[in-house]
């Protein structure tokens, strides 16, 4: 068979299907070789291409009466299907590859361009926290390395993306430089990627309410209390069963050390005051949802 014998539809079909031979592998290889902190768009592109191309093939095949499918297209389809199947097996074997495939394609238009135009929000009263960050953040960074991170962003997270400098986060078009919020953001990405995150205003509200009731500093060092601990405290107050409490053992130990809960996970007077303060600002349920 020569190329002259192919019709325009055949060539179109070949053009659509052929990239499926190598594109999944580009995605797999890119996903495998890219460092955890870095973002690669190839897995998402290949995934979407597979979906789009096969939808196109089905559509074109449905008008197959008009198009006379040449044996070469059939063969090509077999190769492409085999290749995709193998790519799927590779994805099933590697969790990292699989996660990168299912994370979805971000909206690329809002990336660096918007960063330049966004309003930079800093709160003078919280600059203190930006300065005192040596030990705690070092420890956080270590924890971060231990986790299997995936730094790609979903379409849902598009408006909450990380600035390249790593010292700011962009939430709803605002660049936030508050270290506490950045670490909360990081914690969310590591542990609760699909949860509804607290906005910066909500975060500040919680921070103020807690700092007012507790003499300790919020989110700072080993002696501080952070969003995970507060979330556990809120869940204890709401009497939600902490399934698999060993996961929360560290947070409960910290709360116990600070005199917020007893050894048996009962609220203590100090904890009651914090819970009441959170309830007053209407954040109790929201904060409880953070570890659910």
């Amino acid at each position: 068979m020569t190329l002259e014998e192919l019709s325009i539809t055949d060539i179109l079909m070949i053009a659509i299907v052929a990239p499926n031979i190598f594109l999944p592998w580009v995605g797999v290889v890119k996903a495998a070789i890219t460092r955890t902190e870095e973002y690669t768009v190839w897995p998402a592109i290949s995934l979407y291409y597979i979906l789009i191309s096969f939808v196109m093939v089905i559509l074109l095949s449905s008008v197959g009466i008009i198009i006379s499918i040449k044996p070469i297209i059939g063969e090509l389809l077999i190769y492409a299907s085999t290749s995709i199947l193998m790519a799927v097996i590779a994805g099933a074997i590697s969790e990292k590859v699989r996660r990168r495939f299912i994370e979805g394609l971000p909206r690329l238009s809002i990336q660096p361009k918007k960063v330049e135009n966004t309003h930079v929000k800093t709160h003078a009263s919280h600059r203190y926290y930006e300065d005192s960050r040596s030990k705690y953040y070092g420890r956080l960074a270590e924890q971060g390395k231990q986790h299997t991170l995936s730094e790609t962003m979903s379409s849902r997270e598009a408006s909450q993306e990380r600035h390249p400098s790593q010292n700011t986060v962009i939430v709803d078009g605002q660049v936030i430089r508050d270290r506490d919020y950045i670490d909360y953001f990081k914690w969310c990405r590591e542990n609760y990627r699909w949860h509804r995150r607290l906005t910066y205003d909500e975060f500040l509200k919680i921070k103020e309410a807690v700092s007012e009731k507790l003499s300790i500093r919020f989110l700072v060092g080993d002696s501080g209390v952070g969003i995970p601990e507060l979330s556990i405290l809120a869940r204890i107050s709401l009497r939600e069963g902490l399934r698999n409490s060993t996961v929360w053992a560290e947070a409960i130990r910290k709360l116990n050390k600070l005199g917020l809960v007893s050894r048996n996970c009962k609220l203590m007077p100090r904890g009651v005051r914090v819970v009441k303060a959170l309830k007053e600002v209407g954040m109790l349920e929201k904060i409880a949802e953070q570890t659910m």
Partner: protein, 254 residues
């Protein structure tokens, strides 16, 4: 006249009685079609054990009147010989006013329904099932009351403070305190707070019989009304709101 059969089961624990009934017959084909459960706390302990049956029968008759328009010939399978005699003789020979009143009420309701035939019977699996279900439903309700409440502990191995809302008024604080005690092993005692209209009641239940907290509270609380002190249990009544009393307790504990 349509026919229906009534089965009643129940039990008692101190002042608490729980009961249930099921009615089946011409209108109600299935046993579970017309059934109901209930419980109540009597003003005093029932020595005869007849009140759960009488209350169950009363509830069943009330339900039949609500559900059916026609007159019915009821057959009540009475599992207790003494109850059978009481119902047959309209409470004759019984000096307990509470029981006599209940028998009269049952008789009045049965006359409204139509005719109630009382048949001697042994306790069957149906009555056992009703009793078990009634007890389970009561326990579930108590569990729900505790779920709705807020609680905190004064210190490690200290007193546990429970704050109940008004929806739990059908269960006395004394009963809730005994349940709370069983739930919280290792605690020094429990304090139960509940607001009822203008006053707030605090039931203090301690295994040591210590009333130090109540003494301190009495000194700090401006709305103090009255108190009753027992060996282990004490009741404190105040006009202060439940939040104010909780705040005072928090202040004392911290």
């Amino acid at each position: 006249m349509k026919k229906a059969r009534v089965r009643v089961g129940g039990g008692c624990r101190g002042r608490l009685i729980y009961y249930g009934y099921t009615v089946y017959g011409d209108k109600w084909r299935w046993m579970t079609e017309l059934e109901g459960y209930g419980y109540r706390f009597l003003p005093r302990r029932d020595k005869t054990g007849l009140t759960p049956y009488l209350h169950g029968l009363k509830s069943a008759l009330k339900k039949i009147i609500d559900e059916a328009n026609d007159q019915y010939e009821l057959i009540y399978y009475c599992p207790n010989k003494r109850l059978y005699e009481l119902l047959s003789s309209w409470g004759d020979g019984c000096r307990d006013k509470m029981i006599v009143d209940l028998v009269n009420e049952v008789k009045r309701l049965s006359n409204n329904v139509g005719y109630m035939k009382i048949v001697k019977s042994k306790i069957t699996s149906i009555e056992k099932r009703i009793r078990r279900d009634a007890e389970e439903k009561f326990n579930k309700d108590v569990e729900e009351v505790f779920k709705e409440s807020r609680s905190w502990i004064t210190s490690e191995d200290g007193y546990i403070v429970y704050i109940f809302d008004e929806s739990s008024r059908h269960i006395p604080l004394e009963y809730l305190s005994s349940i709370a005690f069983h739930r919280e092993n290792g605690a020094k005692g429990v304090m139960l707070l509940r607001s009822s209209g203008t006053v707030t009641r605090l039931l203090h239940h301690s295994i040591e019989g210590s009333r130090e907290i109540l003494d301190r509270l009495k000194r700090m609380d401006l709305g103090f009304v009255s108190e009753w002190r027992g060996t282990y249990r004490s009741l404190y009544v105040t006009r202060s709101s439940i939040d104010d009393v909780e705040e005072l307790l928090l202040e004392m504990a911290s």
